[in-house]
Amino acid sequence: MQSPKLLRHAWTVASKDLLVEFRSRTAILSAAVFVVLVLVVFNFGRDPTAVSNVDLAPSILWVTFTFAAILAMNRAFQLELENQALDGLLLAPIERSSIYLGKLIANLVFVAGVELIGVPLLALFFNVRVLPYLGPLLALIALATIGFVAVGTLFSAMTTRTRFAELLLPVLLLPFMIPPLSWAVLATGRLLAGRPLSEIVGWLNMLAVYDIVFVTLAVFLFPATVNE
């Protein structure tokens, strides 16, 4: 396995996906609208005297990110099936894992885009202070997102070719989202509450371990999802 080549092919696949997405803009638009909608609706429904903003914000933030991620992941391989291009990718003289990495990169860019919309809106609508903790918050969001998007991208390679396609992915992914999401929600809460950084280092470490384990696993398992 020549790694520069692997990464170059991965980037070729990813930039193609992003270009397609940029042209159609359907997924990113619906994800952005969803983010705004959730943030607004939660504001209507909550009683500020009962639950403080800082307690509620982390959960809402991660609900929206999760949804956006599922939207992106469902599209990743759907795109290849729609254009019946998967056989072409498999026939090309590239490592199978570069296809996976390409899809993973494209999905991460997509979700990052949604997150870049979500965080400022959250700060605005919920009046939580984000700026002082921006660095650690972004690190936390990145680490948690990589974890479940890595697993989801692997699963979407399988679910898009099954009977229930878009329905099945969230079902399969649910138990795999629990660890990174629960850590992310807890850590986000601490951060926004202005607790010292040392309190969340443990969670960041665990998220990093989760990412390493599942990205590695997915790279090795992906070929099994496409080889006949």
Binding site: K16, L19, R23, A85, G88, L89, L90, L91, P93, E228
Partner: protein, 224 residues
């Protein structure tokens, strides 16, 4: 260039390939005719390395990089332009930029697509998409070409152009395997002819000057 030895493969109880052996050398074109479900597509997929046969082996000189595939699916992204599509597939085959530009211009010219280079594939007519798909399959100058029902969906003009293109390339030394259920198509391109039924070659011989009508007759005799 291409060698198949004792290929066997089944899907559950369905035997798709049953002891198929043959070789195709440089400049030769093997046309495989057979009814639907005879195992033709499986044969091509095994040759391409998309399916690992349960028995036997298939070898292509130069490996996956040397293979071009023209199927009934265009394998083009509708939201991208013809050029962007060609660009994408060329970079997966590590075609250098200068070579890409040369080949792209020559292919688009030969296929009459010069004016459509910057149009999105989704905006093209069916015939133009088919031509773009042919350009896509040839962008890395494959030494071995695998064709799965390539004439399906092509208008008469495009089919004629494809035939011309294929015979020119064969003259330059490209080896091809073409599978189709329609005997009238492609018989005159072939140097070798095979009839396939239930995963087996019922007939495999050089064309030896047989015209489409003669091949049709032989096909009916061998299969029916």
């Amino acid at each position: 260039m291409l060698l198949a030895e004792g290929l066997r493969h089944s899907f559950g109880a369905v035997r798709a390939l049953d002891d198929v052996s043959f070789g195709v050398s440089s400049g030769q074109t093997l046309a495989v005719f057979g009814p639907n479900g005879a195992g033709k597509t499986t044969l091509l997929k095994v040759l391409a390395g998309l399916i690992l046969p349960q028995r036997g082996r298939a070898q292509v000189e130069g490996g996956r990089r040397a293979i071009g595939w023209i199927g009934h699916q265009p394998q083009l992204y509708g939201q991208l332009t013809v050029r962007e599509n060609l660009r994408f597939w060329a970079s997966l085959y590590d075609v250098p930029e200068s070579e890409f530009l040369l080949r792209k211009d020559s292919l688009l010219g030969r296929l009459g697509l010069q004016d459509h280079e910057h149009r999105r594939v989704s905006e093209l007519s069916r015939g133009l998409v088919q031509r773009a798909a042919i350009a896509r399959a040839l962008i890395h100058d494959p030494r071995v070409l695998l064709l799965d029902e390539p004439f399906t969906g092509l208008d008469r003009m495009a089919a004629e152009e494809l035939r011309e293109l294929l015979s020119e390339d064969a003259a330059e030394g490209r080896a091809s395997v073409l599978v189709t259920h329609n005997v009238d198509e492609g018989a005159e391109l072939a140097t070798h002819i095979a009839f396939m039924r239930a995963g087996r070659f019922a007939h495999f011989a050089p064309r030896a000057g047989r015209g489409p009508q003669q091949v049709s007759e032989d096909y009916r005799n061998a299969i029916a």
